[in-house]
Amino acid sequence: MAVIFQLAVQGAQMLLVLLLAPLLIGFVRKVKARLLRRQGPSLIQPYRDLIRLMRKEVVLAENASWLFRVTPYLIFAATWVAAALVPTFAAGLQFSWTADLIVIVALLGSARFFQALAGMDVGTSFGGIGASREVMIASLAEPAMLLIVFSLALVAGATQLSTVAAFMGSPEVGLRVSLGMSAIALVMVAIAENARIPVDNPATHLELTMVHEAMILEYSGRHLAMIELATFLKLVLYVSLISCVFLPWGLAHAGAGPKALALGAVAYLVKLAVLAILLAVFETAVAKMRVFRVPDFLGAALMLALLGTLLLFVSRSL
């Protein structure tokens, strides 16, 4: 019985992230539009876009191989699984022990790997631009992310997100300079990973500046829908990751009663909204940077993360 309930919760979470993802994007866009004094598209516009894409026919480049057609599903699957493993409203779900933070990061890595390959499959220079820039960004973002994971794990003594979240919620965390650094680094990484301004502009299609869009330039129809959805999921993932690690309040524990779970869900939605607004504000405030400034940006993130890790020992044992 309990197991069934657990499974239900797990499934609920999977569906939740899937359904919330477009909404979050819509919300961010809406807020940005409002900050620019525009009306902006409606909140559910992303859903409409996805459905429209589904209906459209796929125009496949002549040179596209099977890899090109399989990739969207792989990306979607990898991202979805990863997103489903991050505690959103409840920690310690049935399958949370399947993967810890490192695995989640790696899953996103696999998604990126295939996306870059797909970008190169068609054999245009745009795909190449996108792929090479993407892997360059990743080659800095991933280590930064892992160092963040290290410092979290070294504090909480675990890489298991539920445990980390529980620990961060508990009073013995205290206020640590290194955690602050990790938080900042995590935000920076999240921005880079989700191809947001100032690293990349999700709205642009100016060839020379785009990174993520360049890779998926040749995608259309249902394939594009899959990829778009995966991108949305990724944002949700990072937002819920930040929230569950650095704002773990109200996070229910699976197996807790429906009431706690509902409470957790509400808390989660609030966190999402807050972070989305922050993101929108930030994005409107800053300008996109040149591609070759990105390494400095991420290098800073990397250094912060490393510093955070090293300072741990100072701040803990002394």
Partner: protein, 672 residues
């Protein structure tokens, strides 16, 4: 009851006999099939023997002493957990490589230069792992080098190959001499060269430090530890591809075995700083190796450099194990050690797979230069698929095997806070960062390798004519691909298998994983960290197929082929694609400065001018220029100076004799 070692030795004797036989018949048509077939059978037999030995009585030691080799020591051979594991690695590699050779060998231009040495090489590697005294060890070690040297030399008409082989063997014998000195220290003045005797004798701290340093020189130069790696990217690609696979995938592991055998087994309790040294070397090696790989456009050289990276990862884990062992943290040490061994196994899988892939590409197109390839995925579907699997595994992406061992290594790194020494506390996470960086770069590197070679459009005419290669090669690669997946989704079983190797050396083992629910792996406690490759795999498959199902159920099926978007220019020439160099350019900009002292010189014609723009990049192999060239220069200088002594007149020679006599007499006169 004949002991397992004896059986194994008989097998090796058979291998050597095959080598001799091959020498006799190597120019016949049937020789290729015969030799590789025999090697296949024998290696498989050896594999089965070791496996059954492990299964029947794991950890039990079986030793034998033959009246060969060093007279008063005899040639001693011993099969324990560690050697059993490495024997499995070696013979698994041997079996599959022979299978591959059955097909690939048909395309060999000079079989009589490959066939005799191939079985000898296999036998040499086996002997190193079995050897139980210094002499037998070094003899097999150098025999292994010699056989592989001959194989590298097999296409000797190419100047580059000759140079590669030369540098390789010089470095190899440098390593051997270092090992020789190390064993000299361990054996002591009495010359007790048996490993059993060395095990009991405990060298002093200074001697132990010297031995560690010498082992790093000796085994490190064989494994390709920076800065001793210079020979590796030259020699490995120069050999025929299946031999490259053996050298890169297996021989480097034998070198690692040597390091483990001496440092973990013979040397006794390590000092904590030894962990620091090995850790740092490992981390630096990993990063530099993969950066070099990223800059390569020769497919096989790229693979060779990535071997250096993986060696670095393994050494880092070993250093971690040393550090934990030195601080009496057996469980953590066992974790790190297991991670290292696991990665040894994995690397032997996917590196062989990738070299096989490169070999098939080479036979199909005759090209190693990625800039001339591209679009092979249409011509060679199977090869490209298995190569893709290899790329995913080596890039440490779940749910494949490369990730599992990488994950274990990270888990081991996370044990570092318990270490008492501040140096270690600080260095271990830093090295962890290096490993993370190298993993990310590895992914980038193999996106490039696969993307440029197999994807996109053909960059040269050769690709149009290519087609899929023979069944043997494909079978070999398919088997390895399956192994990569299995080791990735069932890591628990592998970890349990490794316990028999870990237990005797570390004194502890990782908790039994097979008992875990759903076959997930849990290094310490589920609450701390756990990973379930199987479930991840299942989830991805399910959700992907769910998505696919959903799409095909509800979305439109319409599909149309159209030309790719080229800013309005239709059918841009294949040359317009990204090349390997241009793909690596952003990363070169980021890391090239310190790693290669890379300089870019762009001459951009004035706007409106019609002449093409040029970009010139010059990169330096820092290790080569810092260590090798000065040494070569010094030797050259010395020879030049001394050479005058060949051209003196007799009177001058007499003067030499005379002066020597007078000096000696003076010494005698001043003798107290």
């Amino acid at each position: 009851m004949i002991s397992t070692v004896a059986v194994l030795l008989w097998g090796l004797a058979a291998l050597l006999a095959t080598a001799v036989l091959a020498g006799a018949v190597s120019r016949r048509a049937f020789a290729t099939r015969l030799v590789y077939g025999t090697a296949l059978v024998i290696s498989a037999a050896l594999l089965v023997t070791v496996a059954s030995h492990l299964a029947s009585n794991s950890g039990e030691v079986s030793a034998i002493t033959l009246p060969l080799g060093l007279p008063w020591t005899g040639a001693r051979f011993r099969l324990d957990g560690l050697s059993a594991f490495f024997l499995i690695v070696v013979n698994l590699g041997g079996t599959i490589t022979s299978l591959y050779g059955l097909g690939y060998g048909q395309h060999e231009s000079a079989p009589h230069r490959v066939l005799p040495f191939y079985p000898a090489f296999l036998a040499g590697m086996n002997l190193v792992v079995l050897a139980n005294d210094a002499f037998a060890f070094l003899l097999s070690w150098e025999f292994m080098s010699l056989a592989s040297w001959a194989l590298v030399m097999s296409h000797h008409r190419d100047e580059a190959n000759r140079r590669a082989a030369y540098i390789y063997l010089v470095m190899a014998s440098f390593g051997t001499l270092a090992l020789l000195l190390a064993f000299g220290l361990l054996a002591g003045p009495a010359g007790t060269y048996a490993f059993d005797a060395m095990r009991t004798a405990q060298p002093g701290p200074l001697a132990a430090g010297a031995v560690l340093a010498l082992m790093l020189l000796g085994a490190g130069s064989k494994a390709g530890l920076v800065p001793l790696h210079a020979w590796l990217p030259l020699a490995h690609p120069a050999a025929p591809s299946h031999v490259s696979a053996l050298m890169s995938g297996i021989m480097t592991k034998v070198a690692i075995y040597g390091f483990i055998r001496v440092v973990f087994d013979l040397l006794g309790a390590p000092a904590w700083w030894s962990g620091v040294v090995v850790l740092l070397l490992g981390g630096i090696t990993a990063v530099l190796g993969i950066l070099h790989a990223l800059m390569e456009k020769d497919l096989k050289r790229l693979l060779a450099y990535s071997t250096i990276e993986n060696i670095g990862v393994i050494f880092a884990s070993l250093g971690l194990a040393l550090a934990f062992k030195a601080n009496a943290m057996p469980s953590a040490a066992a974790l790190a050690f297991t991670a290292a061994l696991f990665h040894v196994l994995n690397h032997s899988f996917f590196k062989s797979l990738l070299f096989f892939g490169a070999g098939t590409v080479l036979t199909a197109t005759g090209e190693r230069d990625m800039e001339k390839l591209g679009g092979l995925i249409h011509r060679m579907p199977v090869t490209s698929f298995v190569f893709l699997v290899g790329c995913v595994s080596i890039s440490a992406l779940p749910p494949f095997n490369g990730f599992a061992s990488e994950w274990l290594a990270f888990q081991a790194i996370l044990q570092s806070p318990e270490l008492p020494q501040w140096g270690l506390k600080v260095i271990v996470p830093a090295v962890g960062g290096m490993l993370a960086l190298s993993a990310a770069l590895a992914a980038a590197c193999f996106v490039k390798a696969f993307g440029i070679t197999f994807l996109g459009r053909a960059r040269s005419a050769v690709v149009e004519r290519t087609h899929e290669v023979d069944r043997w090669s494909l079978a070999a690669m398919a088997v390895l691909a399956v192994f990569c997946l299995l080791a990735g989704i069932l890591p628990g079983l592998v970890i349990d298998g490794l316990s028999s190797a870990t237990l005797p050396l570390i004194g502890d083992r990782m908790p039994v994983q097979a008992a875990q629910p759903w076959l997930s792996i849990v290094p310490i406690a589920e609450s701390r960290s756990s990973y379930n490759g199987l479930l991840v795999f299942v989830f991805i498959t399910i959700s992907a197929s769910l998505a696919a199902f959903f799409i095909h159920r509800f979305a439109s099926h319409a599909l149309r082929r159209g030309i790719a978007w080229g800013c309005g220019f239709d059918q841009a020439a294949p040359a317009a694609q990204y090349t390997a160099a241009s793909f690596a350019q952003p990363i070169r900009r980021v890391f090239g400065g310190f790693a290669f002292r890379a300089r870019e010189a762009v001459d951009m014609p004035a706007p409106g001018a019609l002449e093409p723009a040029h970009i010139k990049v010059d990169m330096h192999d820092v290790a080569w220029e810092t260590f090798y060239q000065p040494i070569a220069g010094a030797i050259d200088f010395a020879t030049e100076r001394l050479n005058y002594l060949q051209f003196l007149t007799i009177r001058r020679y007499l003067t030499l004799v005379f002066l020597y006599l007078v000096i000696l007499l003076l010494v005698l006169a001043l003798w107290p």
